[in-house]
Amino acid sequence: MSIPALVTAVVAAAVIVASRGLRQRAQAVVLPIFTGILLLAVWHLWAESTWYELATPGQPTRRVEVFPTPGRVLPAFAELASDGRIFRYIIASLFRVATGFGVAALIGIPLGLYAGWSTRGGYAIDPYIAALRPISPIAWIPISTLAFGIKDEAAIFIIFMGAFFPIVTGAATAVRSMPIAYVRAAHNFGLRKWELLRFVVFPAALPQIITSLRIALGIGWLVVVAAEMTAIQSGLGFLIVDARNMGMRYDLVVAGMIVIGAIGIGLDWLVRRLERLDSVRWGFSKE
């Protein structure tokens, strides 16, 4: 067991406890930093606990490193950056998620609005959305391979399957929970059906739709690893799947996971910006 890592963990934990006495603004800086340090130290200690000594008769005793420590993962980032692979993979994954998510929104929002607005539409669509939604996108991989082969479309389809259902349900619920007074008022102004949808229903539902888009994008990014398990040869998910295929490259696996997490934060931040638009903002009490 490494003493420096243990000391680091203890110190980080002590700082976290002691930060109680700081002002809130200071806490906002100190807490995330030191929880991070604590996590890294725990990871280091756990990784080292998987290592063992091997004594073979007639050979020098050697240490076998099973799981990589944080220090062992850093060179993996350097390796991935040096040949530009990481940037190509990020672009590939972002492209697939953007496409799958975009198609899901284009089909899902109108379908959800319709299912929410029309009673007949709800009867027809609701049960099947409810039944298909809990199926993990991973289960679609064989079907996706049969339908789309081993091209980008196969991965995009998996992401679409992850993002589509939250959008439909979100849009449908948004319409259903709209105050009936809006519709009555619109009728009093003599709005026709399409005008009603365009100027009343859609804007009223928009804040909730944006929220469901945010969830859907999160899920789309979440399933990128599964989507790239199909036989395509690029992307962050492929990086992880491919590193598993190799001998002992768990440093690459962890590096891939960290990049996916970091980009996930970025994407969520972007969609949160959407919530601040004027046409949406009225729907949120906070911010």
């Binding site: 391979t145 036989a231 295929n245 190799m246 001998g247």
Partner: protein, 373 residues
């Protein structure tokens, strides 16, 4: 009221947990096999020895014919009265199997040879101690495809199980032999079970993989075998028995027993092939039903049409064979550090085949199930 809900929840979970462990026999075992019988006392073996607990030792395998000697040995030792019981532990893919080996959750497994070499090169203390088979792969193409010879595949897309498979190295070897460029054929990595479907959907033009996945397309009528391994690389090796160095250090006698069992299984599968191949048919029945969860007819097809489609003799790992594989792997940059034969292979356990006891008892699955009750 709230207490009631909590109690119902706890009771439901307890029932679920009980049912899971009752019916799925523990989290590691993958269900496939084994009537969980205590060492059978009522099997009528006639030997009234003290009921000594026999050791159970797990050996990993994938449901492919390259690993067939693993379940055969498992079945034989489960129905013998003495010695270690080798329990075949089913995996679905090589990465998971490899991880179980690295993390020391399993001590022995059948594995593609270049992957084992790669593990050794990466510092994982494992050794190949014996081979699992010879040949046993097929290059399969669409039934209506025009391909006749290897060169016809230029510009086409062919699936391989892994870069670290010998099927990949074989494709590279064939490209070189035919004077074709390295990238003349587009090779894509794909999970073996998905390959026949991808061929049917015309997502790929062909695939090369361990049986029975080639025969699946053949039997279903949309694929045909373009080449057997004997046509491309005679005595082809794809998988070997890989054990952890610690096991060799601490339990050499156990490794010996396992290798003896694998070798005896191989002999048994071979010794009547010119005489109706009854043993192979029996093996198809048992392995298909109990271990692989595949149609026994599919296995029988692979094992008998023709019988040299896959072979279970000549299982001694030799320097000459492995050096050739290693050279190809290094040349293709699949392995970056060239390893000496001794660093990844330990042939000391290879038995004297003439001295091995013959397999006599190989009961069919239903009879075995009856004798357990």
């Amino acid at each position: 009221m709230k207490l009631k809900i909590v109690l119902i929840g706890v009771a439901a979970f307890a029932l679920l947990a009980y049912a899971h462990y009752r019916f799925n026999s523990g989290p590691i075992s993958r269900g496939s096999l084994e009537p969980e019988n205590p060492p059978s006392t009522a099997a009528g073996a006639g030997q009234a020895e003290a009921p000594k607990e026999r050791e159970v030792f797990r050996v990993g395998f994938l449901p492919v014919t390259c690993h067939l000697t693993c379940p055969v040995t498992s079945w034989v030792t489960q129905h013998s009265s003495a010695g270690t019981k080798f329990q075949a532990e089913r995996f679905s893919d090589f990465p998971t199997m490899k991880e179980a080996l690295i993390a020391r959750k399993i001590d022995a497994t059948f594995m593609i040879v270049p992957l084992a070499m790669k593990l050794a090169a990466d510092g994982v203390p494992v050794k190949i101690v014996y081979l699992g088979h010879r040949d046993g792969s097929a290059l399969t193409v669409g039934i209506d495809s025009p391909f006749k010879e290897f060169k016809d595949l230029a510009g086409k897309r062919v699936a391989i199980p892994s870069r670290f498979s010998n099927q990949h190295l074989l494709m590279q070897r064939m490209l070189k032999q035919n004077g074709m460029a390295r990238d003349a054929i587009e090779l894509v990595e794909m999970a073996p079970p998905d390959m026949p479907g991808a061929l049917a959907a015309k997502a790929i033009d062909g695939y090369i993989v361990g049986e029975p996945h080639g025969a699946r397309a053949e039997m279903a009528g949309y694929g045909r075998v373009l080449f057997f391994m004997k046509d491309l690389w005679p005595d082809f090796i794809s998988c070997g028995l890989v054990v952890r160095q610690e096991l060799i250090n601490d339990r050499p006698e156990l490794v010996q027993e396992l290798v003896d069992g694998i070798a005896a299984s191989g002999l048994w599968l071979e010794d009547d092939i010119d005489d109706g191949a009854q043993h192979r048919k029996q093996a198809s029945e048992v392995v298909g039903k109990v271990f692989y969860n595949q149609d026994p007819k599919l296995l029988e097809w692979v094992l008998t049409r023709p019988t040299d489609r896959v072979r279970y003799d000549n299982l001694l790992p030799t320097r000459k064979n492995f050096d050739e594989i290693m050279d190809l792997a290094v040349e293709m940059n699949v392995i970056t550090k060239r390893m000496a034969f001794e660093e990844y292979c330990d042939a000391q356990f290879a038995p004297d085949l003439g001295a091995l006891p013959k397999i006599e008892n190989f009961p069919p699955p239903d009879v075995a199930a009856k004798s357990d009750k």
